[in-house]
Point group: C2
Chain length 233, copies 2
């Protein structure tokens, strides 16, 4: 009975770690239209962001998930907003009131400069074609550098120099935490059910060994909450 | 009892309409890599191609389905070959021995001229970027113009001048049949469960009203089989 009571207390603690906190999470890829049928996108499955949203909700947060096009079911109790492009994702993020922002989506850096209203016919073009791209808005940086920013957590999916790129991004975008993973490893990352990451902050880091994205989502939420409440004014 | 016998005879006839015929069907989009994480693709869901493959198999054909990246289950009894790019899809198609080729995939017309082996960093580029594209091989035309081509059926997904573009394609690619649909209509086409199409051939055409892709797949297979056996030497 004593053991049950201890487990119960411990569970209650875990259940409430995000109590009263509004968290917005972005997930999945974005799609940038070339014409009505073609687009540029990336291999993000959205699994990590959806797992983070489900875990945050279970840990007591009020969660909004802004999702690019994926084939995952909505996590129970989470407010899901579906978007396609980076510009739509930014607009949705700017419309939220939030304490914590977790930018897990693989936002397309560039979009076609012009979107053709009709399907571009192959015969209209030669053997080669130039697609002019313009830079998309940086959603995370936009949110992190607004006058009273939420607690901002970024993700860095890298194929090389993972640590260096992650630390650069932490500074440049004025983030509190950044979660880095090496997507060149096929066992983890994009489309995989497992992931291994290292979280960096101003004066520290913590590594998480390869595990299911569900388990990892719980462990990351615990770490995020520790840092959030430590830094909260 | 007489009624049951008639239904049975009719069903047996329908069941065997493709008996002894080897059909290869392509379905879904292709993905053309920009770098290890980014790609160009299109909105094809693969539903029409998968429905055609399932129906053809039920109508007695030996079916190979060459599928781009989709999220559909493999139809029972169908040999499914998964590919990503147009070049992979062409290689898979050329490796088949077939009597009938149904090109239902939305093959990317162009692919990036160079595929970066590492993720391209946003910081390496300016506000604008040029993506140089090269024309992909025309899978259907390649198969349809080989020395002893199979009976070739194409699909034309158009947003304007549907009839004209379809007839152009029929001539240019030396096809026996072409199935045209207007993907600018959101009620049908890409990602929809319904479709309405018009099939064109050298000296005729037939329209099919909006209906489920399953029903349409059965009706199209009946029409394809009529034309195939009529033209068979």
């Amino acid at each position: 009975q004593l053991r049950d009571r201890v487990v119960e207390l411990f569970d209650t603690h875990r259940t409430n770690v995000w109590q009263g906190t509004r968290i917005t999470i972005t997930a999945g890829p974005t799609r940038e239209a070339i014409d009505p049928v073609r687009y540029i996108s990336n291999h993000s499955s959205g699994k990590m962001g959806y797992a983070l949203a489900a875990a945050a909700q279970q840990l007591g947060a009020e969660v909004t998930l802004i999702s690019g096009p994926v084939t995952l079911p909505s996590p129970p109790g989470v407010n899901v907003i579906h978007v396609e492009s980076a510009e739509q994702m930014l607009a949705a993020a700017q419309a939220q009131t939030m304490d914590v922002f977790v930018s897990c989506a693989a936002v397309a850096d560039y979009r076609p400069a012009e979107v053709s209203q009709q399907k571009i016919k192959k015969e209209q073009k030669g053997d080669d074609a130039q697609l002019t791209l313009v830079k998309n808005p940086d959603i995370l940086k936009t949110i992190a550098t607004q006058p009273q920013p939420p607690f901002c957590i970024g993700f860095a999916a890298e194929t090389e120099k993972v640590r260096q790129h992650a630390l650069d991004k932490l500074q440049r975008k004025q983030l509190q935490l950044i979660v880095a993973n090496d997507v060149s490893d096929k066992q983890i990352g994009f489309n995989s059910d497992n992931n291994a990451v290292t979280v960096y902050w101003q004066d520290g880091e913590q590594s998480f060994a390869a595990q299911s994205k569900q388990n990892l989502a719980n462990a990351l939420n615990e770490l995020f909450a520790q840092h959030y409440f430590k830094n909260k004014p």
